[in-house]
Structure formats: structure tokens, C-alpha cells
Symmetry: C2
Subunit: 588 residues, 2 copies
């Protein structure tokens, strides 16, 4: 089934305008026609089939309970959607596909609006269930402004049926109305199991080109584009789309070089647009797209790419009530301003991701975590790390977090793996796994590698990619064991060489109980980066740590041509050299 | 032959007092008696042989040209010494050994005095030649105050004959009169090929005990002790030694537990002391001594021990006219005060060794190097690194330097190896070898390791121990090649793992041409220590470098229990933590 979406496909075009031409009253419910005037709907579909469309899209865009309730039709969801599919099938020889169309509810999920994830999920589940029952070949989420909403829909689709799912958002000036970037959308939706990703509607082909280009560079999934027939203008009191079929095709040509394979049109288009598109596409060759499969994490706005030729990433560790009274106090009093501020200063200092730990006595961890996650995802642009070992806390947080989160953490204990890995898989997250198990923390690197290996096998069983595994090689204090740092560094090397997953470290543990911890931590960070560390959990306000990371990354070949290092340091030369007395022979 | 000195041996005792009893006039030349009154000399020897001495020492202590010239006997060196041996041989059944005694000239070598190395060398060569011709079983240098002098003698002995050589200095309060420590003497004399090392004369057994204990801990060679019969007092206008044979033996007992094997007595002793010693020793078991064979470098005062459980060592790089105008100027103008000052501030900052490079246009490198070496060895306590690629400069400097120097440097070119390795061997130095050859610097670690391997083979051919090889794995700037630091670190690892020699690096080259070099250098130093670096050539005035070295050493297990780190940092906690804003969660 899934292979359908890897073919070159031409989708149909606008539905609403054509229905209006056939007598749909302005203000009436278009989807009700599936039930009440199926012939007219079928005529529109037939026009597109005749034009050569490989796919017709059902007249069910507004067919969810919330939208239909505006017309008092909230109890007609099943019938309207099921009929919507039926009416689109079996035209001519029937050799085309039917895409079950799902549009937004018109409400926003928390934290932007007041709809909960579960509400949205249920609404989409109901509609998609009907579309699947009607016999749709796949599901297409279209014209979504918000990632949170489409995300709930996608999860519902995956639960309800085994049909392939296309997710298409609409963009304005490079972002959706709610600020989602194409890159984030691509990463997050792919991680949740979307089968094709793209964009539709919007200001037409030219406005969507950079969006689609970004998406084709980010995901290796099939990509879809269905632009409007240009940016609509008002002419003589009527909406007018400037791109006639000929002009539209001209503007569509650049997409053919992006290695994408699904093309259609949206508002303002007609069967003639579809016909031209189909004819043009006959003569083109779809290029192979070679997207490097990197490890990624993402917020709604930012994607973090990990890899051996990129800088190791920094997770800011400061939102953690353990041993931080200020944070504990803020959480207890519900004074989340402190938490937000703590997030903001870490972003400012250079954190790539923020760890969020709210585990402190006297609070409801599950509820507090969700509140804090919602607050931070609305106000902080970088991706979050959800730090709890309680699977209920994690599940609720993962539902609410609209990015590709990192879960912190599991370990080699079977219970931990069984409870948390299904959540990691379902919500498309990455996962930090500590190399310890029922028997505690092994002393030697070899033993730790064994646990890491077991964890990786478990992840594989749950369908979690190696790229989403982050092995925490465990820094322990050298205050009590001279060998502990060496074993940790060796663990990083072994895990990198043998398992091919990401490595992560809570660096500052190494200096627990010792004086001048920043000195030890920063030297250890350089050593860990030399051993292959990908992610460091640190206090980003410690400048020594950032300096060490910048320099060590350059030295380890993870800052090509030292671009980052030189950018950060070219203005600081004088200041530093005064501090260091005589930093190089040349200057004396 | 050499095995003689590994046996338990009892040496004879005082000679001068016994000759006086037999009529030697005060103020007359004792050694002249070998020629003029050989019977009396033989009687003394016979008394010791009768007492059970395994070794009799020839009456040639003052038999060198300089001493004999005080009596106008400078042309009698050959005869006096040759007869001195002959008269000591063949007494009773002749089943004992004859040690050819060599004492100091009474003059001091440069820089303490005005005697050159070559003068001293020639003087000793003449005397030892005669002792060997006379048939001595081995040579014993006795009662030397100065390492420079005995060093010249030892080299002469090794050139003149193949007899085993014992070197025995005399100590006062734990050092020789010229400031040499027992540890330095042991390391330096062993490196020059001495066959047994020890101490004699001095304030008697109790004063020599800590000296000998130190020597037995430092060298694995046979150790000799020949104390005076206690600290001499003046009684009724005569020198009086408080330890009679019985008391002397009691004080000698502690030495028997040190794993040493050669015992005798010196001033104030008599054949009865020897007899008691011989009887006592019959009943003891000489314990095996297990001295760890570490890499060492030494000045007259300080020994640097290298090893995987000790801190990596710092070579101060600042005495180098290349790109340092101040130094170049000082050398040209003969203003060596600047050089001495530059040495002193590096010692103060924490350097373990000082690199000395005087190569600058417009000076006589050979002469300048010797002057600077002499100045520094007189005024700076730490060992020196002689930095030149000119073998004539090196040879002259090595003659003059009275420590165990490090030669900087050779490389894999055959000419470099052939010219310099013989000098390294002869003067008992360590040698820095760059991993480059006729074809330049190889890019990859594997190729560099190959050159290192070739160098090690060459060193082996010349009889140079692995422990004296320091492979410079070559830091090149990352400004022009992202991989250069990685290859250097990999070279360190390969060399450590496969060749078992020391590794060394001129660390700051890695940041050539880049801003904020100290940041890169200090991160690189931490990484290099993690890879196994033993010695870092750095600017010790750069505090970042010392901080990095201290912390990285602790982390790499090279600062057991972090003793050094904690000592250096326990007082600095507050200051540092203010700088680092928030160095650890606990403190906020
Ligand atoms: Zn549209
Ligand atoms: Zn004496
Ligand atoms: Zn003596």
C-alpha cells in the first residue's frame, strides 16, 4: 500500500469553487452535499478524473465533528465522510486513487488555544475512521496552520487504520500562521510516521517553492505540493486567482527539479490546471533525492541536526529542582516565570536543547510537567528534553509537546524499557538511555557497552531507529575513583565504534565533591569530545564549558574550517590574550 | 667481568692513617709510596686481606696529574698508578679483587670552577689508563663532591678500558658540597654507564643512611657504602673517629636491609672494622631490590620521573629566539641575564623542564649554547632540554651539562639518526624524535607511527633504551586542515600502544594563525593527555594550560586521588566560581 505515495502522482484541484458553480449556497455546508447531492460532487470528481488526475480528494475537508457542528451536523460525521469517499470512487475505469481529505477543526490546541490533545485526537479519529470505512486509499491532512493539530490527527490516523497518510501544511512567508517552520514540520511529522509531507494552498507556487525546497532537503519521504493558483486578489468584489492553467504550469516547473513526486493544485484551480500538470509531468524525470539521514530533534521552530561533522550539542541542565532551591520553589508556588526565565538565559547562553525536570516533592509531576512543557514550547524556540523516569509523566508530556522531543531517560532495566520505549516510538521522540541496569552501574567500559547493546536491541524491537538513541555513558565523580573518567571516555569510544548511536553525558557529575569544578568539567568535556561525545548536558552559563566545547569541536573536526570557533573568537583576541599573559610566542 | 659488582663484597678501610703509622710524613705524597716504599703499602693491603676484605683499594686516590703536580710529580702518573695496582695484587692466595682508586682533582669544573670538561676528562683518562694497565679489576671513583668531575672521569674510564666502574660521592647533610642530590647522582651516573653507585666518607653510617636509602630506591644498579668511622672530632689536637669496630658494625646493620651489596669503611677505620664487617655480612641475606624502571631526566638537583601514574610533564618553551625578539637580542648582546630571568619565571610558573634554544643568526650557536647551559645549570634547579639539530652544538652542550638532559631533536632522517644518536647514548641523555623524515611530515597517524617505529629501531641499534625515547607526534595547525589535530591525537595513541615509548608535543603549534590560541591550546592539551601524552612543550605562563593539564591529568588517572589538583585548587574555589558564574548546580 505504502508504495502508492512513492509514485509520481497528480492530485486534483479546487473543490469548493466548482461546487459553488454547481449550486452550493454560500454559507452552506459543502460536505453535506456528499449525502444530499452526491451527483454534483461526483461530477466535480469526474471532471478531474477526465483531466487525468491520478488522485481525487474527497469532499470531506470540513468533515470533522467541530466543523460540522457549525451546521448542526455533528452527528453526521460518519455518514458524510463515508459517503464522501464512496462518491469519489469508481468513476470511468476507476483507475485512480481516492485521498480522504481531512482539514483543520478551526480551533487551536494548547498552548495556543484551549483544545486538548485528546479532544483533537478523538475528533480526527472519528472522521478518519469513516474515511477508511468508505474505502479511501490514503488520508491527506490538508491546509493545516498548526503542527499540534495535524500531529494529533496523524496519531489518530495511525491508530485507526493502516492507510498511508499525507500531511500538508499551509505557509505564509516561510512559516505557518502559528510559527512552524517547514523544516520542523518535516522532521516532526516524519518522526510520527507520516508517509508523505508537503504544503498546499498558501500564496501559490512561488511562495511555496522555498518551503518545499526546505522540506525536500530535510526529509527523505515523498513530498507533495498543491499550491493555490497564485496569491488571490479581490476583483470587482470577487476573489480572483491570477494563475491561469498556462501560467500555473510555468510556475510549477521549478518543483520538478526538487526530487519530489506529488503535485496538485489548490484554491483557484480547475480541471484544466490538472490537465496541464498531468501533461507536463509525463515528460519529466523525477530526480532521486539524496537526503542524509541524520539524528534530529526539533521544536516547532528549530531543528537540531546531530552528526560527526557538526558541533556537539548542548543541553542546558538548569531547569531541575534537585539541589536548586529556586527552581523547586518556583514549581511549588506555580511561579513558572522563574522557569521560563531560566530557559531564556540558557538559550541566550548558547544551549541547543533544554532539559526540563520538575520532579520535586509536593507537586503533581504529571500536571506540572505538562504545564511547564506548554509554557516553554510557547516561549522558547529550542527543542525540549523531557526529564522524568515516570512513564505516566512522560506520556502526558509527549502528547502535549509538539516537537520531536528527547526523553530523559530510560536504562537497561527491563521494566524501564518495556514501559517507556513504546512511548518513544509512538511520539517519535529520541531517547536517552543510561548504561545501568538492575545490577547498578558497571565499573568497566566493556560492561557498560554490553548494557548499551542490550538497550539498542530493545529499541530495535520497538522499531526505534539507532539515530534516535542517545547512550548516556555515565560520568561519575573522580573524587572517589581515579579510573572513573577513563572508563567513561572508553565507554563513549566503544559505543560510537560498535553501536553507531549517539552518545551523551551529564558532564559535571565527574567533578562532584571537588573544588573548582568548572576546571575539571571543561577539561573533561574536551576529552569526551575527542572520544566522540555528541551531546553534553551542562550548565551553559559556565563560560569555560562553552569555550572548551568550541575549541574541542574544532580540534575534533566537528567544526569544519573552524567557522564557529573563529566567529565566536575573532573579536575576543585582545581580551583573552591579556588574561593569558603570553598566549603564544609570536606576540612577545 | 661486570658480575663482580653484583656479588656481596666487603671493601677494605682507611689507607692514609695506616700509612702514617708506617712512617708517611705529613705533607708528603702518599701515592709516591707505591713507587718508593711499596712494601709498606703492601703491608697495609695485607692487613685488610687478612681481615677478610674481598676488595682492596689501591693507594692511588690522589694519583691524578693535578694532585701529583702539587708534589712536582705530574710526570709520574703512569708509574705511580700502575705500581699502585701491582703492589695490591697477589697477597696471600690472591683471591680478592683490586679496585683502582680515583679521587677528585681538587679543582672544579665549569660552571663552578674553571676546569673544562675536556681537561678533567684527559686527567682521568691518563690515571685510569695506568690503573687498567696495572691490572685493576675495576675502577672506583671515591669521595667526589662534584658530579661534573666524576662524570668526566666516568666517561674517560668507559673510553679507556672495559673495567666495571663504581662511582661514590660524599655527602654532607643529604647533598654533596656542590649541591648534588643522591637521587640526581644515581640517575645521572647510571645513565652514563656506571656499574655501581654509592657514597663514602662523610659523617659516618648514620649520616649516609638516608643518602644510600635514596640511592637504592632510585637505581637498580649495585650500591656501595663506605662510611667514615663516625663524624670526626678533635681530641687533644688529633682527629678522632668515634666508632670503634663494634660500634661501627652496629651502625652498619640498617644498610643490610636496603637490598644493597657492597660495604666498606673509610676514614678512621682499620682492618678490625673490615674484619667485623666481613663476619657480620656472612650471616645476612641481601634482599632483592625492586626498583621500578621509569623514564627519568635530571639536573644536578632534581630528578623528573615520567610514567603513566604521574603527571604529564611541562617543558617551558620560552627560551627560544625564533619569533621572540627579546631572547634573540639578549643572545646577540651576550645579555644572558634575560635568559636566566626567562628560565626563572618558567620554573616559578610550574615548568618541569626548560627548553634551551639559542639558534639565531649572528651568534656562534655552539659557544652560546654552552654558555647558556652553564649559566642555567648553575642557577636553575630543573633539568634542561638542549634544543638544536646541529650535532656539534649538541655534543658540546652535552659535555658541559652535568645532568641527564633531553636532546631536542632528531627525526627519522638517516643522517640525523647517525649523527645524533651516538651522542645521546654517550652522554646518557633522553632524545626527542620528530615523526618526519626525508619525505617530510606524513599526514596520517599510521605513517607517522611507521617513522616512530624506525626511529625506535635505530635507537635500539645504538643501545638507547625505550625509556629514553620521546616521540614528538607533531602538532600542526588546524587552521589549514580540519583533520590535523585528530591525526596527531591518533599518533599519540598508536605510539603509546605499539611502541611503549614516551610521547611529547609542541602543543601550541595546533593553533598557529588562529585567534584566542590559548583556548584551542588548552582544549588540545586535555585531549592529548587523554590520548596518552607524557610531555607537553608549552608556555607555562599561560594559566589556561596549567589548569587544563592539572584537570586533565586527574581525569586521565595520572594524578592519583587528585592530590595535585586538589592541592592547587582547594584555595581557589571561591575566586573561580565567581568567574564561572554558576559552575555547579549545588551552589545556586
Ligand atoms: Zn487552497
Ligand atoms: Zn673518608
Ligand atoms: Zn676513604
Amino acid at each position: 500500500m505504502e508504495n502508492i505515495l512513492k509514485k509520481v502522482l497528480v492530485f486534483d484541484g479546487a473543490m469548493g469553487t466548482l461546487l459553488q458553480e454547481k449550486g452550493l449556497t454560500p454559507g452552506a455546508c459543502p460536505e453535506l452535499m456528499n449525502k444530499e447531492e452526491p451527483k454534483k460532487v461526483r461530477e466535480v470528481h469526474k471532471a478531474y478524473v477526465d483531466a487525468g488526475a491520478d488522485v481525487v480528494t474527497t469532499n470531506t475537508f470540513g468533515g470533522n465533528r467541530i466543523k460540522l457542528s457549525e451546521y448542526g451536523l455533528e452527528n453526521e460525521v460518519a455518514e458524510i465522510n463515508q459517503r464522501g469517499v464512496e462518491v469519489a470512487k469508481g468513476i470511468n475505469d476507476g483507475k485512480y486513487f481516492v485521498a480522504g481529505s481531512v482539514g483543520p477543526t478551526g480551533r487551536f490546541l494548547e498552548p495556543l488555544g484551549d483544545m486538548t490533545f485528546d479532544e483533537a485526537y478523538d475528533v480526527f479519529k472519528e472522521q478518519i475512521n469513516a474515511l477508511a470505512k468508505g474505502g479511501a486509499d490514503f488520508i491527506i491532512f490538508e491546509t493545516f496552520h498548526d503542527l499540534g493539530e495535524v500531529r494529533a490527527g496523524l496519531l489518530a490516523a495511525k491508530d485507526v487504520c493502516s492507510l498511508p497518510v499525507i500531511c500538508s501544511l499551509t505557509y505564509d512567508g516561510g512559516r505557518t500562521l502559528t510559527g512552524v517552520t517547514p523544516r520542523s514540520a518535516a522532521i516532526i511529522l516524519e518522526s510520527l510516521g507520516a508517509d508523505a509531507i508537503g504544503a498546499n494552498c498558501s500564496g501559490g507556487p512561488e511562495e511555496l517553492y522555498p518551503v518545499i525546497e526546505e522540506i525536500t532537503r530535510t526529509t527523505s519521504l515523498p513530498v507533495i505540493v498543491e499550491p493555490n493558483a497564485g496569491l488571490p486578489e479581490m476583483k470587482e468584489g470577487k476573489v480572483y486567482y491570477p494563475l491561469d492553467p498556462q501560467l500555473f504550469i510555468e510556475k510549477m516547473v521549478p518543483f520538478f527539479n526538487l526530487g519530489m513526486n506529488i503535485f496538485g493544485s489548490c484554491c483557484g484551480s480547475s480541471p484544466l490546471h490538472t490537465k496541464n500538470l498531468k501533461q507536463k509531468i509525463k515528460n519529466i524525470t523525477i530526480l532521486a533525492r539524496n537526503v542524509e539521514r541524520r539524528s534530529t530533534l526539533a521544536s516547532r521552530e528549530q531543528v537540531i541536526f546531530l552528526g560527526e561533522d557538526t558541533l556537539p550539542k548542548i543541553i542546558g541542565e538548569r531547569i531541575n529542582p534537585t539541589a536548586r532551591k529556586k527552581i523547586a520553589q518556583g514549581l511549588k508556588e506555580g511561579n513558572y516565570g522563574i522557569i521560563q526565565e531560566e530557559g531564556a538565559i540558557q538559550v541566550e547562553a548558547g544551549a541547543d536543547l533544554l532539559d526540563v525536570n520538575v520532579g520535586t516533592p509536593g507537586i503533581d509531576e504529571k500536571e506540572t510537567m505538562s504545564k511547564v512543557i506548554n509554557l516553554l514550547q510557547q516561549n522558547i524556540s529550542i527543542p525540549l528534553v523531557i526529564d522524568s523516569t515516570n512513564h505516566l509523566v512522560l506520556e502526558n508530556a509527549l502528547k502535549n509537546y509538539q516537537g520531536k522531543a528527547l526523553v530523559n531517560s530510560i536504562n537497561g532495566e527491563q521494566e524501564s524499557l518495556n514501559k517507556i520505549l513504546p512511548l518513544v516510538k509512538r511520539y517519535g521522540a529520541g531517547v536517552i538511555a543510561l548504561v545501568l541496569d538492575e545490577n547498578g552501574i558497571p565499573e568497566t567500559a566493556q560492561e557498560r557497552k554490553k548494557i548499551a547493546h542490550k538497550i539498542c536491541k530493545s529499541c530495535e524491537d520497538y522499531g526505534i531507529s539507532k539515530k534516535d538513541i542517545y547512550i548516556d555513558c555515565l560520568a561519575l565523580t573522580i573524587g572517589t575513583d581515579d579510573n572513573s573518567a577513563k572508563e567513561t571516555l572508553e565507554t563513549i569510544k566503544l559505543v560510537k565504534q560498535n553501536l553507531g548511536v549517539n552518545t551523551i553525558l551529564g558532564v559535571s557529575n565527574v567533578s562532584h565533591g571537588l573544588p573548582s569544578r568548572s576546571k575539571i568539567n571543561s577539561a573533561f568535556l574536551a576529552m569526551a569530545i575527542a572520544s566522540g561525545l555528541d551531546v553534553a548536558i551542562i550548565n551553559p552559563l559556565d563560560k569555560n564549558m562553552l569555550t572548551s566545547l568550541e575549541a574541542a569541536s574544532f580540534l575534533a573536526g566537528r567544526d569544519p574550517k573552524g567557522n564557529n570557533y573563529i566567529k565566536k573568537n575573532s573579536l575576543e583576541v585582545k581580551e583573552v590574550e591579556i588574561n593569558a599573559s603570553i598566549p603564544s610566542l609570536e606576540l612577545v
